[in-house]
Symmetry: C2
Subunit: 335 residues, 2 copies
Amino acid sequence: MKIKDIGEFGFIKLINKGLINNPEAVVQGIGDDTAVLAPSGKNQLLFTTDMMVEEVHFSLRYATYRQVGHKALAVNLSDIAAMGGKPTHAVVSLGVPPERAVEDLQELYRGMADLAARFGVNIVGGDTVKTAGQLVINVALLGEVAPGRAIYRSGAEEGDYILVTGTLGDSAAGLYLFQNQDVELAQEIGDTLRKRHLEPEPRLDIGPLLAETGLVTAINDISDGLAREISEICEASGVGCRLIDKKIPISEEARVLGEITGHSPVEWALNGGEDFQLVFTVEPDGLDEIEETLRKRGVAYGIVGVITSLEQGIGLVTEKGIQPLAKGGYDHFSG
Amino acid sequence: MKIKDIGEFGFIKLINKGLINNPEAVVQGIGDDTAVLAPSGKNQLLFTTDMMVEEVHFSLRYATYRQVGHKALAVNLSDIAAMGGKPTHAVVSLGVPPERAVEDLQELYRGMADLAARFGVNIVGGDTVKTAGQLVINVALLGEVAPGRAIYRSGAEEGDYILVTGTLGDSAAGLYLFQNQDVELAQEIGDTLRKRHLEPEPRLDIGPLLAETGLVTAINDISDGLAREISEICEASGVGCRLIDKKIPISEEARVLGEITGHSPVEWALNGGEDFQLVFTVEPDGLDEIEETLRKRGVAYGIVGVITSLEQGIGLVTEKGIQPLAKGGYDHFSG
């Protein structure tokens, strides 16, 4: 069955189930001109949006519809995590070529709904429209944070430690495997890397806890590669930094793929993007407590460098000495 | 200059001016992972989103980029008006073919920013990504309403009057003129109708005031034609209605165009859509006060029918007797 066979309103009826996970906060969900929501007390609101376009941000040659739905919400959840907040409500716009199968679009919604359920997020509205050829998904997401607790990019100071969660470069390594399908590699290793690319996990397990400590001075989520994300923090904060290449956490899987293919996993970490881990800076005397917080939650991390003065610029410490770090990252309209 | 020449980040710098109209409500606007907002007191939140796709919702053969920007925000503002609320903050996603001129996209933003300024709305974030051929604009909009004051589609009761604001069918008449450019018509009349189609005016001047009276039982904004909008109210409320064709307010301009072309302006009003006026129902003993409210604000209106029992169905009273009203309206994926 194609979406043009059941129409916009038939489709809404099909997917309008299991989208409310925190009913107390919803006065009116899907079904009126707008959703009506009850914000909790005196929190500040977080508000973000991301658009994903077929063959630009994802390809159905690699990803299932369910994974596309997962990722469309995950990238927004990651932005809330990077503010130290808690996500609450989402609205979802879908631009769909009329020939697409209803079942596939239901799968896409399932990918979103499953992830929303895990974090108590309500999907409270949306729009479904026609496009000529490309599937387009836009998610707008609300979150909350206690007043004054949001963490910006601009708070890093000279002497702060730079930490990252998880391992970096796995998503880029997974994408490399999709684009180079003749690489011979143990199935398990390939599966792990491909999944990291297709099903990123927003770090909501740790972002809000980091904010609560009051010891974290700046955070970004790593959507565009560590080089760009730390550059953004340094620019916004008016500081420089030294990243230490050997301290960037690389997974065993990415290391193996790098060896087989002659690629540098550190390069994937710096400029690959879409890991959706967090990079954050910590006051010098706060490091012990932050490490304790990370360990308690079982969050893998690495101390990858330090914040310096602005004059020292943004540098990468390597065996060959300090190299200036190119900003890197993905610009939609370059090249 | 094309957007691919200055890139995503260059473009953000260009448009990131004059987007905040109510700075007190903004803790952090564009420039971090998410916006941070300060909601005012104990109001409930309204949350809505609409996606507009080139050659589906608009065509640059008819509209300027500035008008496209205006309309993308206007349709969302109209949804807030139809809840009786006040709009507060928007995030804007733009999917752009790389060959588009930066100046045109700035014009698009100007159309949005000018309208936002008129209603004290802040544009606090967004996303700018690449598409293959079609321009895609998604706006997600927040608003506020006093607890319990939001007006739904579901509150209409038997005996309520049905009112509409403004005149209906003008937008469809304007679209007809774009699609039939050989129609001979006084310039002024054509200009008025074309402008109604390209630059719809959200009824924020009256929506919140209607909500405050406590006498309005249901509202919809007329995005899909009066027939569909009143049908939605009747379905949600479990009632029927009688619309009276002669009572539907038709502009002099639409009447003239109808006469010249042999089209029925009432048909445009019922099934044309995109007028973005309001249709609403009023308790029988509240009509005097509502008419007084409308008159005081200089809002043109018509009393177009009454709510009946469910059993009587949805009917249009015409010279030929009562006809069942087809739901009509635009379905993206039908036909």
